[in-house]
């Protein structure tokens, strides 16, 4: 159900909407002030009631994550809040809009989040390329400090909070939370084994919560509306997938962009209403939430004959008409991911699209685990051969085999993030791949752009 909301993006079109004056006019920082006076447990319960599923792609409930932290820091064991703004998942461009156009909601969210998990310092990890985002965040931090909202006594309350921006240096893998922590510590951004989870031993070996930037920026809205009321904005409140969030749409649509809506929007609404419809002919497929989420074909139908299946109400309908939620999309065999869809029209070649993405994953594999380091290279090279017109049908089976051997054999989820979309392309476009191989590419439009 398409329901536009205006909580997270209300200052996007406002002149100087990134300055503190605009934020204060809308009641900014009132929630942070209130939160610092709340019992910590009450604050966490409020966030739990919001049913905010992590906006970074994994969809873990934020309140539950906060609840994993020790109730109080032990002596010599400070807690840390780390905000993940290493936005780099192909197709994803939503966190950047928050940082550039409304950085104060992140700063306020950091104050509340730090208090909620018992931390006094928050690090916002921003990918290096986003220079304007970093400048806007630092500007917001300085403005908040000048008003006495940060520092030793925010709002005159004896709970010190500092917020820092930390710059990455060009590595997609640092969006993985433990790789991010290594990078924050000044090391190579290689993911860590879990356990221990960050709530036990995270940044600098201390209990740490890592939240996506949009998740943190939504916290002031949760407190303003109340957790339950926030959750009920969503059409999927009953599935514990609450609130509103930023949806993105890019690729072959007429009006690409970021749109704030209640959770429960369908892909059809995202593509045809918000995205203005498909550019360049008919719809071929949609990658629903960043490149790691398996692709959905335009003609796929929901297969959930079991009346007890969560997706049964949509049985037999187009996948484009299923509300976009963490659990609904898992049921479709894909993922909601970052909620930023990439649209392919029938003029795009799925073989070339997969090749493009596998080149990305080969480039970004950190190299720590052999199945991923070598497998991503084999995937790319096999596709190089196919795209060059020299592939064989055995190569298609080989691609399957390589992807299946990455799956489950790596330290972090990057392996699955490579293998799952690879298998998605191969299964759903088997005929196109076979035709491509048999005709040495003559069957393909040989193009991605319109």
């Amino acid at each position: 159900m398409l329901q536009r909301t205006n909580y997270l993006s209300s200052r996007y079109g406002v002149p100087d909407g990134h300055r503190i004056e605009a934020y204060l006019r809308d009641g900014g920082y009132e929630q942070a002030k209130r939160a610092l006076g709340m019992p910590r447990k009450a604050l966490i319960d409020e966030v739990k009631a919001a049913n905010l599923r992590g906006r970074g792609g994994a969809g873990f409930p934020m309140g539950v994550k906060w609840g994993f932290m020790p109730p109080e820091p032990k002596p010599g064991k400070p807690h840390y809040l780390v905000v993940n703004a290493d936005e780099g998942e192909p197709g994803t461009f939503k966190d950047r809009t928050l940082m550039e156009r409304d950085p104060h909601s992140t700063v306020e969210g950091c104050i509340i989040g730090a208090y909620g998990i018992g931390a006094h310092a928050a690090y916002v990890y921003v990918r290096d390329e986003l220079h304007l985002s970093k400048a806007r965040l630092w500007g917001a931090i300085e403005e908040a400090r000048a008003r006495g909202f940060l520092g030793a006594k925010p709002f005159g309350i004896d709970y010190p909070v500092e917020v820092y921006v930390h710059s990455g240096a060009g590595a997609y893998i640092c969006g993985e939370e433990t790789a991010l922590l290594n990078s924050l510590e000044g090391k190579r951004g290689e993911p860590r084994m879990k356990p221990p989870v960050p709530a036990q031993a995270g940044a600098f070996g201390m209990p740490t919560t890592v939240n996506n930037l949009e998740s943190i920026a939504t916290v002031p809205t949760i407190l303003k509306l109340g957790g339950e009321a926030f959750s009920k904005l969503s059409a999927l409140h009953g599935m514990r997938d609450g609130g509103c969030r930023l949806f993105g749409v890019s690729g072959h649509v007429k009006t690409p962009g970021v749109f704030e809506c209640a959770v429960g929007l369908t892909l059809r609404e995202l593509v045809y209403e918000l995205g203005g419809g498909v550019a360049g002919g008919k719809l071929l497929a949609v990658i629903p939430g960043g490149s790691s989420t398996p692709i959905l074909r335009h003609d796929e139908l929901v297969d959930a004959p079991d009346p007890k299946a969560p997706l049964h109400p949509w049985h037999g309908q187009s996948v484009l008409d299923v509300p976009m939620g963490v659990d609904t999309f898992r049921g479709l065999g894909t993922m909601l991911g970052t909620c930023c869809a990439i649209v392919l029209s029938e003029r795009a070649c799925p073989v070339l699209a997969m090749h493009n993405l596998m080149r990305f994953y080969r480039h970004e594999s950190c190299g720590q685990c052999t199945p991923c380091r070598e497998g991503s290279g084999w995937l790319e090279r096999t596709l190089d051969r196919i795209v060059g017109g020299e592939g064989t049908l055995e190569d298609l089976d080989r691609l399957h085999e390589i992807a299946n051997n990455i799956m489950g054999n790596t330290i972090c989820a990057f392996g699955e993030g490579t293998a799952m979309p690879a298998l998605g392309f191969l299964r759903k476009f088997r005929r196109e791949f076979e035709d491509f191989v048999r005709t040495h590419g003559a069957s393909s439009p040989r193009n991605l752009a319109l």
């Binding site: 400070p78 936005e87 780099g88 998942e89 192909p90 197709g91 994803t92 461009f93 966190d95 950047r96 990918r127 290096d128 390329e129 986003l130 220079h131 304007l132 500092e162 820092y164 930390h166 710059s167 990455g168 240096a169 060009g170 590595a171 997609y172 990078s183 924050l184 510590e185 000044g186 090391k187 190579r188 951004g189 290689e190 600098f204 993105g248 749409v249 890019s250 690729g251 072959h252 690409p256 962009g257 970021v258 990658i287 490149s291 930023c340 990439i342 649209v343 392919l344 795009a348 699209a353 493009n356 993405l357 990305f360 480039h363 970004e364 950190c366 991605l448 752009a449 319109l450």
Partner: protein
Amino acid sequence: MTFALTPERQQELARIVARYPNKQAACIPVLHLCQEQHGWISDEVTRFVADTLGMPAAQVVGVVTFYSIFNQQPVGRHQVWVCRTLSCALRGAEGLLHQCEKHLGIHAGQTTPDGAITLRTAECLASCGTAPVMQVDKTYHENLTPERAREILDGLRSR
């Protein structure tokens, strides 16, 4: 020759180090600071960072070689990255890159003979809704056309 930061940057370095519970955590921001001044991470820069932050030089090298932003050799006065990942590719990034290569007379990964511009490809720059995108030094140029890209590149030559 040893490397040293300008006095202003040396003060900035102290502010950076103060943000973290240990000195090593400042490694990446300090490398950015050095590269801003020197253009790339030479052996002298590596040694400076290692000495300043009390790290083994090999560990600093490990960091430098992991991250794509750190230049391991000298680059042009301006750095240009053209995003080539899917959303940009769907909106013409490949043609844009070819235009840039043709206009500058170099391939991606190379620097123009006058030392003005290093051209590179980038993986997703989080600008998918305004694709195709090109990053010039610290600035994004979005919704680019080949014509506009040529103008931007010409503008860089004189700066």
